[in-house]
């Protein structure tokens, strides 16, 4: 298990991230950010939404807030329409309102899309709004740190390769005391399954890795863990609409799977 605590460590108790607001709002930047991203689908959706409110009671935020009309999915995306209309000329207070809605009133589950007669993808628009806020430095602190960690180390907890491999070896030692002969194969080429974990496991919950190792051992599965980045299957970049980093994270996993010539990739519970 990792001995040292990295300066970028995220406390597991951090439940309500605060907004980073070191930056001033730059309308031109907002426009430049949105321009290549607002495609034909977004424009169509904003144009044809019939405001029929059929999406209202498909939303758990609407249903659990005493049917607060501001929780209607179609209502929540008004911000995108307004920002486009105002050509990015919005102030901090406005963006804080957007922030509250897109982070605290929608978790992008896409249920509303399944009930919308036009199949309007609200979640995709919320994601774009989150990404727009990120471009203006408005991002939950925990996610900001995690994304820095992904970029630097390939995992959200900034676990180094040495720490990761040591943790696995330690897990193997501990678990094999209980189940004699248990191994945790690292970088085993041609294994059937490549297993991936949540980076919190090596950092805070190594017992989870041991338990999985026991299951694999008892089931007689041919499995392995990769030593290089790609082993963290969480993708927190997706939550701020950071598509580039999100892609990098997934690509790492695929790269490892290709290198190790595995048939399947399994992800942690």
């Amino acid at each position: 298990m990792a001995e040292e605590t990295s300066p970028k460590e995220i406390s597991p108790k951090e439940t309500s991230p605060k907004v980073t607001d070191s930056k001033t709002i730059n309308p031109q930047e907002i426009v430049d950010f949105l321009k290549p991203r607002v495609g034909a689908r977004f424009k169509t959706w904003l144009d044809i939404c019939a405001h029929c409110a059929l999406c209202a009671d498909t939303c758990h935020f609407y249903n659990t807030s005493g049917k607060d009309p501001n929780m209607i999915p179609a209502r929540k995306v008004r911000f995108l329409k307004e920002i486009l209309k105002k050509k990015g000329k919005v102030d901090k207070a406005y963006l804080e309102k957007v922030y509250h809605t897109v982070y605290h009133e929608c978790n992008m589950c896409r249920r509303c899309t399944l009930y919308c007669p036009f199949g309007i993808d609200i979640a995709l628009m919320i994601s774009l709004l989150r990404a727009t806020l990120t471009s203006q430095g408005m991002i939950p602190e925990g996610l900001r740190k995690a994304i820095e960690n992904y970029k630097a180390t390939g995992n959200q907890m900034a676990v180094t390769k040495e720490e990761w491999v040591e943790t696995i070896q330690w897990c193997e030692e501990e678990a094999s005391a209980e189940l004699v002969g248990l191994k945790i194969p690292i970088d085993k080429k041609g294994a059937k399954i490549m297993y991936t974990v949540n980076a919190r496991e090596p950092k805070f919950y190594p017992q989870d890795i041991m338990e999985v190792a026991k299951i694999f051992y008892v089931a007689g599965e041919d499995w392995t863990l990769p030593s290089e980045s790609g082993w963290d299957d969480t993708n927190l970049a997706m939550f701020v609409g950071d598509v580039k980093t999100a892609k990098m994270i997934v690509e790492n996993t695929f790269k490892r799977a290709d290198e190790l010539e595995v048939k399947q990739v399994a992800i942690t519970e």
Binding site: A40, R41, I48, A50, C52, L54, R75, T113, D121
Partner: protein, 220 residues
Amino acid sequence: MSFYNFVAGPLLWLSFAVFIIGLLVRIVTFVKVSREKDKIIYQHFNWRYVFLTFARWLMPINPTVAKTPAYFLLVYVFHFCLLVVPVFLQGHIILWEESRFGFSWPALPHLLADLMTLVVITIAALFLLRRILSRDLRLLSDFSDYALLVIAGLPFLTGYWVTHGTLDAILSSYSMQIIHTLSGELMLVMIPLSKLSHFVLFFFSRGASAVEFGRRGYSM
């Protein structure tokens, strides 16, 4: 040229031009912009998902119908009558026959056409009432949402008045003809210029989302 001849002549041509060219522009824009910015549609395009989603939503075989059956029954009946009446109305077909095109096709029986017209007017009124009375809909609606319901209902209301001479005591049938034609033209023009563009964009929006959900293994 009399005012009626102007309304039923050049203005009608203009309305049809805006309607057809406007919708073509909508379609071409969608295809052009999406090729550049929504590549995902083309990377994962699959007719199976697209066709299935059209079928489920053009017919009442979808989760929303099950959730709100009464409202959706009205929606389907409204759209059906709205599309069928103007095209298959005897009075309109005669105009096509007399025009330079000389087109002709079977017409709806008068009684049925009357009934369907009244259905459109009634449902449009109900939708308007619902929009005014519901707190949720009031919040979502802007001016155009109310206006477009009126614009969609007006050609049917004035059409009914024209055929039945309801308002003969107040307006000459000549004026009524003009009002009816103008209201129809207004609606034609508004289709490509407003949310009524779902007339064609419905297919693009649903199709795109069906591809997006289909590639994840869910046929919507």
